[in-house]
């Protein structure tokens, strides 16, 4: 049984991976629900100081 498809996607998790999935989908023509249990998005990466191997600021 093939039911009608829905052009929207639910993304669970507002860390770096969830945010970028949501952005790619939204920019390519899908409606996105980004679900995050905490009060802010950004996840762990936003709490890091610097990132290897370039020592760039994580923000």
């Amino acid at each position: 049984m093939e039911s009608k498809k829905t052009g929207s996607v639910v993304v669970i998790g507002g860390g770096i991976s969830g945010m970028l999935s949501a952005l790619d989908l939204a920019n390519s023509g899908f409606y996105v629900y980004l679900v995050e249990k905490g009060p802010s998005i950004g996840g762990v990466m936003a709490q890091l100081d610097k990132t290897f191997p370039t020592n760039d600021c994580a923000m």
Binding site: S17, S21, D24, S28, A46, Q47, K50, T54
Partner: protein
């Protein structure tokens, strides 16, 4: 609020501890909030949404080491986790980036006990990192897997700690295997050793004791020579692993998806972001432990997989925002609106904002000046639109934070009120003022006035600018018909875009044609065949075999490439390009390779397995040598795939005949993630692992009956001789170093010849050149699942560009030539790094320079070098910059 850079930067009430919510007391926050944002009656709501696909990206939780009694994390204040140390290093963390002992005490302790401890605070002289805390450990916890990221973050923390605390800080990292198998990681590790002087000690620490007086920590361990050593450190950082939370496991249970032993979502190598349930995809650490760039690739790949499944309903639910018609302000007298942002207390706590607002109101051309609490908030934006319309403003100045993050937001507001977005100027009275002069409020206020005056002067000269529309040719060229290239092509074709695959060989498949099975045991040839069939049967994909690329012209959206097939050259027009040219195995020039047919490379062994070569049945003793050509001065990178591949083949030999003696001679075993389970399995099956140093490589002597291999055993510290009848060399994967291709698309290669992506962390599947994407081992050596992930990710990134078909615009801040003044000297043409200016070929001004706005990046190099003053940089024109200089001092 979790930390100062949280987005949105808004406080939230924790309902578990709020007195108002739990006991109906307090209520202070409602009284003091100037924005009336507190509403205690908001409760949890249950929402039901319909969706075509689900992507799970729940992330991980850092391992909690409290239960390890030997490291005493719960009891010793100077034992911290790596995540805590990350916050200690952060300028916005609890110690403002200052590395200190007793870091978890409050800055100004109130409790007596804390006060006493705080007196013992000192700058540490010696810090140790303990690796694999909560990873690769089934004795104290159940995490048999490797967390993949800890080795690198420990090295990074040690380097940064030395930066913060001075180079005489002694940093030691205690590890089992150093796992730095990512792009540019090995060099980072080598620099840590040799440039930064960080000590690497191969040992798992037995126990830690504390000096209760000073808080110093004494560490006991056994060094590589078997001696027991006791050493004192000021601080210990536990490199905690990544774990899947109970909550995520519950979620997986509810969604009915399969998990692996370690609690990660189970995925297949050829569909690396699809869970066991149709329509549910996974990305990030929940899809096996991984670092940021791989999480980013997963993110785009999951988007691509979720999108492919819904290709026929794309654009059915998205909403179009109708553009507001632009008011023509050319020739009108400037009427400037100035908005001064308090940024809560960030600015207003230092700068006298009402005084700056009053001052701004009296500047030339200023019609209205307003102070606002948070200029970026939705209500302030709406009000701004209202004021612009009401007062008929035609230039806007916002004095707030940095334009680097907030300019686009305000420009959007201008568009919504019918103004061209370039009639805007932003000045930074927070980052460049209130935050850096917090102890001099008067001077900061004066400086804010100066900055506002300069911005107003510049804004008065702002002109509406036009953004050139870029048409995007809805077709794709993929260079390379291997796994990554084919995956990208299949995804883009399924979204309806014509895709051309350029393959120089006579058939598709690339290096994967030589592989036997994946790390998860899938038959590569079977899956590869299916993929090739998919490609062949897709009428949106045109495969050009025996074809090479001879030239590329054009820019994003409009490339023309010259394809050469059988000596004939034909042009191909395409909007975007994906480079997936792969890598190949090195021809080793050591260990007697090529002198005896019992000495082979990993892929040759795969071939024997694939073809069930009877020679394999006669093997009684097999040896693998790792890092052949990798992690050497001439090739200072780790080839990433070889450890797992050799371990996997060693297991296969043992399974074929348990009596076979199998040895793996290695430098560090780098079976990252759940590949670690293969390493464990190999040891259980009796594969013998012998570590060697790069200074003391194994020696191979070809003899008639056998190969004689001698290696210094690291436990015995004595030479060991193995008589083998099969020697497999784990040869490095080397890039094609295709400088011609790199030049065609103006994309960079690194020293080793791998393509350099746009951003090491956040742009791993695209180039800095717009419209050009990267996938597969041409970026860095990678196994099947990662090549496919990157192929999908490149497709997803390309799709976001293709989907913009009518709405891709250049920036308005570009150079333009005043042909009347141009002397046709050609300096701009020779100086431009982007080949943007050229001489007009025809028309009235033939021979004069002209700037292609699409190629121009707006750097202004040509403007500064034009001796006739004929080039203008829109938005940063000479008169605008001069106006700021002239406004430096108040006109008295």
């Amino acid at each position: 609020m979790e930390y100062p850079q949280a987005v949105p930067l808004k406080y939230a009430i924790n309902p578990d501890v709020c007195l108002k919510l739990t006991k109906d007391k307090c209520g202070t926050c409602e009284e003091v909030c100037p924005a009336d944002a507190i509403d205690y009656t908001m409760t949890e709501e249950m929402l039901t949404v319909a969706a075509g696909s689900i992507i799970l990206a729940p992330g991980f939780k850092p391992f909690d080491p409290s239960r390890f009694d030997n490291y005493q994390y719960a009891n010793f204040p100077n034992v911290v986790t790596s995540m805590e140390f990350e916050r200690i290093l952060s300028a916005t963390g609890p110690t403002m980036g200052h590395v200190t002992t007793f870091p978890k005490l409050p800055a100004n302790p109130k409790k007596k006990k804390d006060k006493l401890l705080a007196q013992k605070r000192k700058d540490p002289k010696k810090i140790a990192w303990f690796q694999c805390v909560g990873s690769r450990d089934i004795n104290k916890c159940d995490n048999a897997y490797c967390s993949s990221v800890c080795c690198m973050y420990a090295v990074k923390e040690a380097i940064i700690a030395k930066e913060h605390a001075g180079s005489d800080l002694d940093c030691s990292i205690f590890f089992m295997d150093m796992r730095t198998p990512g792009k540019e990681f090995e060099k980072y590790y080598e620099n840590a050793k040799h440039k930064h002087g960080i000590n690497f000690i191969r040992s798992r620490v037995h126990s830690v004791t504390e000096d209760p007086e000073t808080g110093d920590l004494s560490v006991r361990y056994v060094d590589e020579l078997g001696q027991i050593i006791t050493e004192t450190y000021d601080m210990i950082v536990l490199s905690v692993g990544l774990e899947i939370s109970e909550e995520t496991r519950d979620l997986a249970g509810k969604l009915d998806i399969d998990l692996t032993e370690g609690g990660f979502a189970r995925t297949a190598s050829f569909e690396p972001v699809a869970t066991s349930r149709d329509g549910i995809y996974v990305s990030g650490v929940f899809n096996n432990p991984k670092d940021i760039p791989e999480s980013v690739l997963d993110a785009s790949a999951a988007a691509s997989a979720a999108g492919d499944a819904l290709a026929d309903v794309r654009n059915t639910l998205t909403k179009e925002t109708l553009p507001v018609e632009e008011t023509n302000v050319v020739g009108d007298r400037p009427s400037i609106g100035v908005f001064i942002c308090d940024c809560g207390s960030n600015i207003a706590g230092v700068v006298d904002c009402p005084s700056v607002t009053e001052y701004a109101a009296n500047l030339p051309y200023v019609t209205v000046a307003e102070e606002t609490t948070y200029a970026c908030s939705q209500d302030a934006q709406d009000k701004m639109v209202e004021i612009i319309k009401e007062k008929g403003l035609n230039r806007i100045v916002v004095a707030a934070c940095t334009p680097k993050t907030h300019e686009p937001l305000f420009q959007e507001t201008l568009k919504n009120s019918g103004l061209n977005k370039y009639l805007f100027e932003m000045t930074n009275i927070r980052n460049h003022n209130s935050w850096v002069h917090k102890n001099n409020p008067d001077i900061a206020t004066d400086k804010a006035k100066d900055l506002v005056r300069m911005a107003v002067a510049k804004a008065a000269l702002a002109q509406p600018l036009k953004e050139e529309k870029i048409n995007v040719n809805p077709s794709v060229m993929v260079v390379g018909g291997g796994l990554a290239g084919m995956t990208a092509a299949r995804s883009l074709a399924s979204q309806g875009y014509e895709t051309h695959i350029i393959e120089k060989k006579e058939c598709l498949g690339g290096e994967a044609l030589k592989l036997w099975k994946t790390a998860q045991g899938e038959d590569v040839q079977k899956e590869l065949d299916a993929l090739i069939q998919d490609i062949a049967s897709n009428d949106k994909i045109i495969v050009h075999t025996n074809t090479t690329l001879e030239g590329v012209d054009g820019f994003v959206g409009n490339f023309t490439s010259q394809l050469k097939t059988d000596g004939k050259t034909t042009p191909l027009e395409h909007g975007v390009a994906v480079l997936a040219t792969g890598a190949k195995a090195l021809e080793p020039d050591e260990y007697s390779f090529g002198r005896d047919d019992r000495i082979i490379r990993t892929l040759d062994l795969d071939k024997m397995f694939k073809e069930s070569d009877p020679k394999l049945d006669t093997v009684k003793s097999a040896v693998f040598i790792q890092c052949v050509g990798s992690r050497e001065p001439q090739r200072p990178y780790c080839s990433r795939v070889c450890c797992t591949h050799s371990v996997d083949n060693a297991i296969a030999l043992k399974e074929k005949n348990p009596e076979t003696d199998v040895f793996i001679l290695y430098r560090d075993i780098r079976t990252y993630g759940e590949r670690e389970l293969l390493y464990k399995k190999a040891r259980e099956k009796g594969v013998i692992f012998i570590r060697f140093d790069v200074e003391n490589k194994p020696e191979v002597v070809v003899e008639k009956d056998h190969l004689k291999i001698t290696v210094i055993d690291h436990v015995l510290n004595l030479p060991v001789t193995i008589y083998a009848d099969l020697l497999t060399l784990a040869a490095a994967l080397v890039p094609r170093k295709d400088e011609r291709l790199a030049n065609f698309f103006k994309v960079p290669l690194n020293d080793e010849g791998f393509f350099v992506e746009k951003h090491a962390k956040l742009g791993p599947a695209e180039f800095a050149t717009d419209g050009v994407f990267i996938a597969g081992s041409a970026h860095y050596p990678k196994p099947v699942n990662e090549a496919i992930t990157q192929g999908r990710a490149a497709a997803s990134r390309a799709l976001t560009l293709l989907a913009k078909k009518d709405s891709l615009f250049t920036s308005g801040n570009v150079a333009s030539v005043d042909v009347q003044k141009c002397s046709a000297c050609g300096v701009c043409i020779s100086i431009c790094p982007y080949n943007s200016p050229s001489f007009l070929a025809e028309g009235r001004f033939a021979g004069k320079a002209d700037v292609n706005a699409v190629l121009c990046k707006g750097c202004g190099l040509c403007v500064a070098s034009c001796r006739s003053g004929a080039i203008h940089l829109r938005g940063f024109d000479t008169n605008q910059i001069l106006s700021q200089i002239f406004a430096l001092d108040e006109v008295s």
